[in-house]
């Protein structure tokens, strides 16, 4: 019993929490931004896959790591543009379009990866982001190794959550985005172009998702393999609901979620073979469903979420 609790006392657990949370933070913020403008982006799973692939591929071909992230962001935005074209301009079903983008982006990732990187016994690797030493903080006992041995993108993710919260709630642009997600007709009547706002939000949101994917291949791991996203995108969609569409709570939710994940990984080694490991692996998915159930009726959903906006049509 003590062993089960002792896990919490290990700095390694907390370091792992931040690492596991990072792609979820990027993905959840991206999905949140899209939904705040009124568009559900179920392309997330595929966009994260593509980001993981293309970011890695860029670095593998000699780009530096930050360029890798940038390349991922650009391609993410491109898929966002596709999603926006179909769901905003044409007003197609956001559910089905998003799934289509996921299937398209992930199969395209596999195709391009296989085309460029021949099958090999051990997958090729790149040199990933290294932990940043923050003078003073990283040397603190326990807290140092627990919180301040992360790679740069992790810190970036946390900063982004704060920035997005600020933009959404304290700037005219953020208000325009929220109004578009609540009532695009009102936004239009006040001179805000809901079409442009939605295009912008979806493209930027998709770029964030893609960066979240590339974190996996450029920081958490150092190679790409198909199906590595493992439903993280869907988890992010659930976390957006859990967060009530608030970036601060999205950050919190991702961390909480990562805590469960990191904890179950360590618990597996403590418990050993007595419990099938698959049960532990189910935890993240079941947790997401529970989070959805808890929040479903309480959350203040953006009123125009999943409603196409056509000028002059009410």
């Amino acid at each position: 019993m003590m062993e089960i609790l002792e896990i919490f006392a290990s700095a390694g657990l907390w370091a792992a929490v931040l690492r596991i949370a990072t792609p979820l933070i990027f993905g959840t913020l991206g999905a949140l931004l899209c939904e705040r403008s009124g568009v559900l982006n179920l392309g997330i799973e595929g966009i994260m896959t593509f980001g993981a692939m293309i970011g890695w591929l860029a670095v593998f071909n000699g780009a530096d790591l930050w360029t890798g992230l940038l390349v991922a962001a650009i391609f993410g935005a491109a898929f966002g543009l596709l999603h926006a074209g179909l769901t905003v301009t044409l007003g197609l079903s956001q559910h089905v379009t998003g799934l289509g983008i996921t299937l398209f982006a992930s199969s395209l990732s596999y195709f391009l990866f296989r085309l460029i990187v021949p099958v090999a016994g051990t997958p090729p690797t790149v040199e990933p982001f290294q932990p940043i030493d923050i003078p003073g903080l990283s040397d603190l006992p326990f807290i140092g190794p627990a919180l301040f041995t992360q790679t740069a993108p992790t810190y970036l993710a946390i900063v982004l959550a704060v920035v997005l919260a600020y933009v959404l709630f304290f700037t005219p642009l953020g208000l325009a985005v929220r109004m578009t997600g609540e009532n695009p007709h009102a936004a239009e009547a006040q001179g805000v172009n809901p079409i442009k706002v939605r295009y912008g939000a979806i493209m930027l949101g998709s770029a964030l998702m893609s960066v979240g994917g590339s974190f996996l291949t450029l920081s958490a791991f150092n190679s790409f393999f198909p199906t590595m996203i493992q439903g993280r995108g869907w988890v992010c969609i659930a976390l957006v609901v859990f967060s009530s569409w608030k970036p601060s709570r999205a950050l919190l939710g991702a961390l909480l979620f990562a805590l469960f994940d990191a904890y179950q990984l360590r618990l597996q080694t403590v418990v050993g073979k007595a419990v099938p490991y698959q049960l532990f692996l189910m935890v993240p998915y079941v947790m997401s469903i529970v989070a959805l159930v808890v929040m479903a009726r309480r959350a203040r959903v953006p009123q125009a979420l999943m409603q196409a906006y056509r000028r002059g049509e009410r």
Binding site: L42, L82, L86, L90, L92, S93, H95, V96, T97, L99, G100, I101, L103, F104, S107, L108, Y110, F111, R114, L115, Q230, G231, W234, V235, I237, A238, V241, P276, Q278, L279, L281, M282, Y285, V286, S288, I289, L292, V293, A296, R297, R310, R311
Partner: protein, 349 residues
């Protein structure tokens, strides 16, 4: 320039839309093939040869189409009633593992004519059960079933993995994680000897016709259509919404579970975690390509299967990764959405 809603949907355009969509998808994929430095027409020729170029190839394609018909129907009946079942993949696996669990011993003593339908029913019930969970959450708590069905896919595969490494592990499989095999009495007879094509195809086509009849002719078909198009109006007209959706979920989940059952009984004989190369997800594409029409599902499933089967041969012949089939099929979903859109709207200056 703006979009204007058409008063009438031109019938010809509606019928032609899947064909236009498929050609558009092939054209876009063609660009990818060309960028990869391969001859485009040759690649498509090879896909054609690989899928229908010989008797064996054709039977392989039809074998691959069989589960796609079932999962395509699963998506079509659900989407028609606006039940967003994206969980056919998980329902497929649970249906399959249920057949393995009961097919090894429980039905072993029965004559095939009894064992086969009993196991099919068991697979269908198991699949339906998996979809009833997210539907229940939607009806009770208002949880969007898209995300829950997606998440349950992962849970389902992990559950299958747990079973085939645990209680249902085949002790004779040299330690490979695979389930106990179903007994010989429950294996589906072949349509053509020395091929893999089994009577599951006939069952699938028959069920597609039955589903069509149910949708077009029954009270349930009318009510589920109304529930999907306008829940408010359906409620006003006294359509029992919850029970109609539950029936739809049972049908949809059942068809996906049946897909898994038939695949185990018809092709493999046992369950592994790679039993499905994404049949559940491809089913969504099949349904959309068919414009949710049950009989159209059969044709769309055959097209999709042909792409997958043909791409393997094409890949061997000219070295383009066979993932091009996945890309083309996924693209055809997007192009189909656009094509359907233009049957409803037109561009006006």
């Amino acid at each position: 320039m703006r979009l204007e809603r058409r008063a009438h949907r031109p019938f010809g355009l509606v019928v032609a839309s899947p064909i236009i969509a498929i050609f558009a998808a092939l054209a876009i994929s063609g660009v990818l093939i060309a960028l990869a430095g391969a001859p485009v027409l040759e690649a498509y020729y090879q896909i054609g040869v690989g899928s229908f170029g010989s008797r064996l190839a054709a039977t392989e394609t039809l074998t691959r189409a069989t589960p796609l018909i079932f999962t395509g129907l699963a998506a079509a009946v659900a989407f028609r009633a606006q039940v967003w079942n994206i969980g056919a993949e998980g329902q497929f696996f649970i249906g399959a593992i249920a057949v393995a669990a009961f097919g090894a011993e429980f039905t072993a003593g029965m004559p095939p004519a009894l064992a086969i339908p009993v196991l099919m029913l068991i697979g269908a019930i198991a699949g339906a059960f998996v979809l009833l969970v997210p539907l229940g959450l939607r009806l009770r708590f208002g949880v969007d079933e898209v995300v829950t069905t997606l998440l349950l896919n992962f849970v389902a595969v992990l559950f299958v993995s747990m079973m085939i490494e645990g209680p249902l592990k085949d002790p004779l499989a040299f330690g490979w994680p695979q389930s106990v095999p179903v007994a010989d009495n429950a294996l589906l007879p072949k349509i053509i000897a020395r091929t893999r094509l089994h009577i599951g195809l006939i069952v699938a086509i028959a069920i597609a016709v039955i589903v069509y009849a149910v949708q077009a002719r029954t009270v349930f078909g009318l009510q589920s259509k109304a529930a999907g198009l306008s829940p408010r109006a359906a409620r006003f007209a006294g359509v029992p919404l919850a029970s109609t959706l539950i029936k739809v979920a049972c049908l949809s989940g059942g068809l996906a579970g049946l897909a898994g059952a038939v695949e185990v009984m018809g092709v493999k004989g046992y369950v592994t975690t790679d039993l499905s190369p994404g049949f559940g997800y491809s089913g969504i594409i099949v349904a959309m390509l068919a414009n949710l029409h049950p009989v159209g599902v059969v044709a769309a499933a055959i097209f999709t299967a042909a792409m997958f089967v043909g791409a393997d041969g094409m890949s061997r012949a000219i070295g383009i990764p066979s993932y091009i089939a996945d890309v083309t099929v996924a693209l055809s979903l997007l192009t189909m959405l656009v094509a359907i859109f233009f049957t409803q709207y037109r561009i006006r200056k």
